[in-house]
């Protein structure tokens, strides 16, 4: 069992979990992920290593509740434990001096992009970040990002924080300005919902700005054994867990990917409904006992 050292709510549906896993912390690098199992009957869930502390032997995970497993994970508290934490998995981000880089994060994507931005800054890049969310209350880690970036732009769909609009708006403006000024195109990283990563890749393509995305496919083992994480890129099928998770956004077959991540949607809904039914059942029972 892997003890949870600390938890912290970040938004209504997102929480931070610091877990004791020295075997992962010792070699974790930006861009890598772990596969965790929360309970005895749990499934293997991929989560990015948002931060690590080699001295304390811990890693930090940021979890957004989207289904049964992630919802249950957010009920964990300090002293609880994960059944399994395996990793680090996937290739680390290639850190190089590009000059300017733009890190675009949508929603919970700010967590996985944070160590990438931090390390890109550390190797000498000028790091601009664009953080987007639907509403102000869904934003988090602006302060952390501000510490490791040269510029932070915030935008929300409804204008409740930062500028109103999608992350692609400030991105395109920036690229246009740099292009007009004859500056070399920045390297763009984008992490967030698949739809958003597709939108960013489409937006940067006309500018020829190299774009790296970190894909969130369905995974089982995370070690190259099942092929469930397959994605189509120009030279055929790749396994996201071992060939990625980062890919050239201009090279990904987005429509195929968007279809593949919904394959188990009916079953996931069934699991969530069954879990909710069990919980309400419990509440009624406690009420009845009183």
């Amino acid at each position: 069992m892997y003890a949870v050292r600390r938890t912290q709510a970040l938004t209504g549906a997102t929480g931070l979990i610091e877990v004791v896993a020295p075997h992962v912390a010792r070699s974790a690098r930006a861009g890598q992920f772990v596969i965790v199992i929360a309970g005895e009957h749990g499934e293997r869930i991929p989560l990015t290593i948002a931060d690590h502390d080699r001295d304390r032997g811990t890693i930090t995970l940021v979890v957004q509740a989207v289904g049964k497993s992630t919802e249950e994970m957010l009920t964990l508290e300090a002293g609880d434990a994960f059944t399994s934490v395996a990793g680090p998995l996937g290739h680390p981000t290639k850190l190089a001096r590009h000059g300017t880089v733009v890190c675009v994060a949508g929603g919970v994507g700010v967590a996985p992009i944070y160590p990438i931005a931090r390390d890109l800054k550390a190797v000498g890049n000028h790091v601009v970040s664009v953080l987007g969310a639907r509403r102000a209350d869904l934003l988090f880690w602006q302060d952390r990002m501000a510490r490791v970036c040269d510029e932070v732009v915030v935008c929300t769909d409804d204008g409740s924080a930062g500028r109103r609009g999608l992350v692609t708006d400030p991105l395109v403006e920036r690229l246009q300005r740099m292009s007009d000024a004859g500056e070399p195109m920045p390297h763009v990283w984008a992490i967030g919902p698949t739809i958003m990563m597709r939108a960013v890749s489409r937006a940067t393509e006309p500018f020829g700005a190299p774009t790296t995305v970190s894909l969130n496919t369905i995974m089982v083992d995370g070690t190259g054994m099942c092929g469930g994480c397959r994605v189509s890129v120009s030279d055929g099928a790749k396994f996201v867990c071992v060939d990625g998770p980062e890919f050239d956004g201009h090279d990904v077959d987005w429509d195929n990917l968007l279809g593949r991540i919904t394959y188990y949607r009916p079953e996931e809904r069934e699991a969530l409904e069954a879990a909710h039914a069990r919980h309400t059942g419990c509440v009624r029972e406690t009420v009845a006992l009183r």
Binding site: M1, Y2, A3, V20, A21, P22, H23, V24, S27, Q32, I37, H41, G42, E43, R44, G57, K68, S69, A81, F82, T83, S84, V85, A86, G87, P88, L89, V220, D221, T223, G224, M225, C226, G227, G228, R230, V231, S232, A237, V242, D253, D255, N256, G259, R260, T262, Y263, Y264, E267, E268, E270, A271, A274, A275
Partner: protein, 498 residues
């Protein structure tokens, strides 16, 4: 009371009782039910105790078969178990999954005129008895001060670990998944090899011998082979051949196309058949096409069939479903064990022989059909099997919502990240000495599927055994490195329990 050979010949080979085909196709419980004590004893008495027992030559770990059978025939179960476990640390597993008909039983002298002794069934009987009675392996010898890292907890790694631990070495197994067993745990379905058997057999071996099992360790990223080699006195690689192959035809990334490994992992390792009680979903549609006809294909087809039947029982409004095995050669060439093939046919799997897929067709991103061509058999090829060739103009579409590739696997290259210059073949397998498992890197051995490519449980165990013997000599000839610097993470060390 000693029987004459004539009396022994007169005893018929004892049949294995099985669950009724119709019933078992709707559950994941074990198909073969096991011999009774009387039947097992009778079967053992069929052995004529050959002076030159060829059966033993057919066993990759050299089980002393006549001694085992003699003791069992005499009713001395303890002695029979002892003789068996001396060479085989996983008898309840091997008795179930060894391809006996092409190994020990193929060489049995009785096979010439009568039927061979059912060695596998007896091995299963004894293995189960040992588990029920908690019969433990011999205690380890005095500690040698040497530490060994074994990578992978499949049959090769487990056997190597057990043999080295018995000789007094401190063994740590590193396993990337959360449970030990390799293919035994994630590939071979419950209805052929119940999880409880693997758990119990691994636990007996591991706990009694103080083997340290570190799950959730992916060698190549968590630690590299180079790190293990610097820290441990010797390293054994038993990482198997877990990488699935897909056919190079259009449409393989459509929704509804997956590898047999994915289906089997969801079903076995993650217990997806009990979804939503277990969290991992698995689905087999109403029209499933499995491509390939080896053991893996049989397991995938029979698992898919069970998922369909379970779903039909829970949701009577859905159709009963159909599972097809699509194979480019004919029935005579089916590479799966005969027993598995027969079981699949009995359960209702449909076989489309002389049929070869050329494309997966889809609509809206989902599979709708498998486009195939009819094949005919031509001249024999290098393997001696008649080479299939396409019949011109014979295209046909097989309606399918699920397509499962069961085409064989190759070694997972993850373990070779940071593995220095470990020599490999162009198929990605590790180059190692056949007799000893030595690789070109000093202090590193390899065995099992990672060396041979996909093979069998018992050949992997044989390789683990051979390597352990060679490693033992090496270890005693070299000074120990002392305490480890790669201390276990709290949490990663676990017993065999699921």
């Amino acid at each position: 009371m000693t029987l004459s050979n004539k009396e022994r010949y007169a005893i018929p080979r004892q049949d294995m009782p099985t669950q009724d085909a119709h019933e078992r196709a709707a559950n994941f419980e074990e198909v073969a039910l096991g011999l009774t004590w009387e039947a097992a004893r009778l079967e053992a008495q069929r052995c004529i105790q050959c002076k030159n027992p060829h059966c033993v030559d057919g066993c990759p770990v050299g089980v002393r078969i006549p001694d085992v059978l003699l003791a069992l025939g005499d009713g001395d179960l303890a002695a029979a178990v002892d003789a068996l476990t001396e060479r085989n640390s996983l008898p309840a597993v091997c008795g179930r999954v060894c391809p006996q008909e092409s190994q020990c039983e193929a060489r049995c002298t009785l096979g010439a005129k009568h039927e061979p002794v059912a060695i596998g069934r007896l091995e299963r009987f004894l293995g189960d008895h040992a588990l029920q009675q908690h019969i433990l392996p011999a205690a380890p010898l005095e500690h040698t001060g040497r530490r060994v890292a074994v990578v992978g907890s499949g049959p090769s790694g487990l056997t190597c670990a057990v043999d080295l631990a018995k000789l007094g070495h401190a063994v740590t197994i590193f396993e990337s998944l959360h449970l030990p067993g390799g293919v035994l745990a994630y590939g071979i379905p419950e209805f052929r090899l119940p999880r409880s058997i693997i758990t119990a057999e691994v636990r007996t071996a591991v706990e009694h011998l103080n083997i340290e099992l570190r799950t959730d360790h992916v060698i190549g990223t968590t630690y590299t082979l180079v790190e293990l080699r610097e820290d441990y006195d010797a390293v054994f690689l038993g990482t198997g051949a877990g990488l699935p192959a897909f056919m190079d035809i259009p449409g393989t990334n459509l929704n509804g196309v997956f590898s047999a490994n994915e289906l089997l992992t969801r079903v076995n390792l993650m217990r997806g058949y009990a979804f939503p009680e277990y969290d991992t979903p698995v689905k087999a549609g109403e029209r499933v096409a499995v491509i390939g006809a080896g053991n893996v294909a049989m397991d995938a087809a029979r698992s898919a069939l069970r998922l369909q039947r379970l779903r039909a029982a829970a949701h009577p409004q859905t159709g009963p479903g159909e599972v097809h095995v699509v194979y480019r050669r004919s029935e005579a060439e089916v590479p799966a064990r005969r027993e598995e093939y027969t079981h699949a046919v009995e359960e209702g799997v449909v076989f489309d022989f002389l049929t070869n897929p050329v494309a997966v067709l889809g609509d809206g991103g989902r599979v709708t059909a498998l486009r195939c061509v009819r094949m005919e058999l031509g001249e024999p090829d290098e393997s001696g099997r008649r080479r299939p060739r396409a019949v011109a103009g014979s295209e046909l579409d097989l309606v399918a919502d699920t397509v499962i590739f069961a085409l064989g696997t190759s070694p997972n290259p993850l373990v070779f990240t940071g593995a220095a210059n470990l020599d490999r073949s162009r198929w990605g397998t590790v180059l190692a000495d056949e007799a000893t498992g030595r690789t070109h890197l000093e202090g590193v051995w390899a065995g099992g599927d990672v060396v041979t490519g996909a093979a069998t449980v018992i050949s992997a165990m044989g390789a683990g055994k051979a390597a352990a013997a060679d490693m033992h000599t090496f270890l005693l000839a070299h000074a120990p490195k002392g305490p480890s610097r790669l201390e276990a993470s709290p949490g990663t060390v676990r017993s065999a329990d699921a």
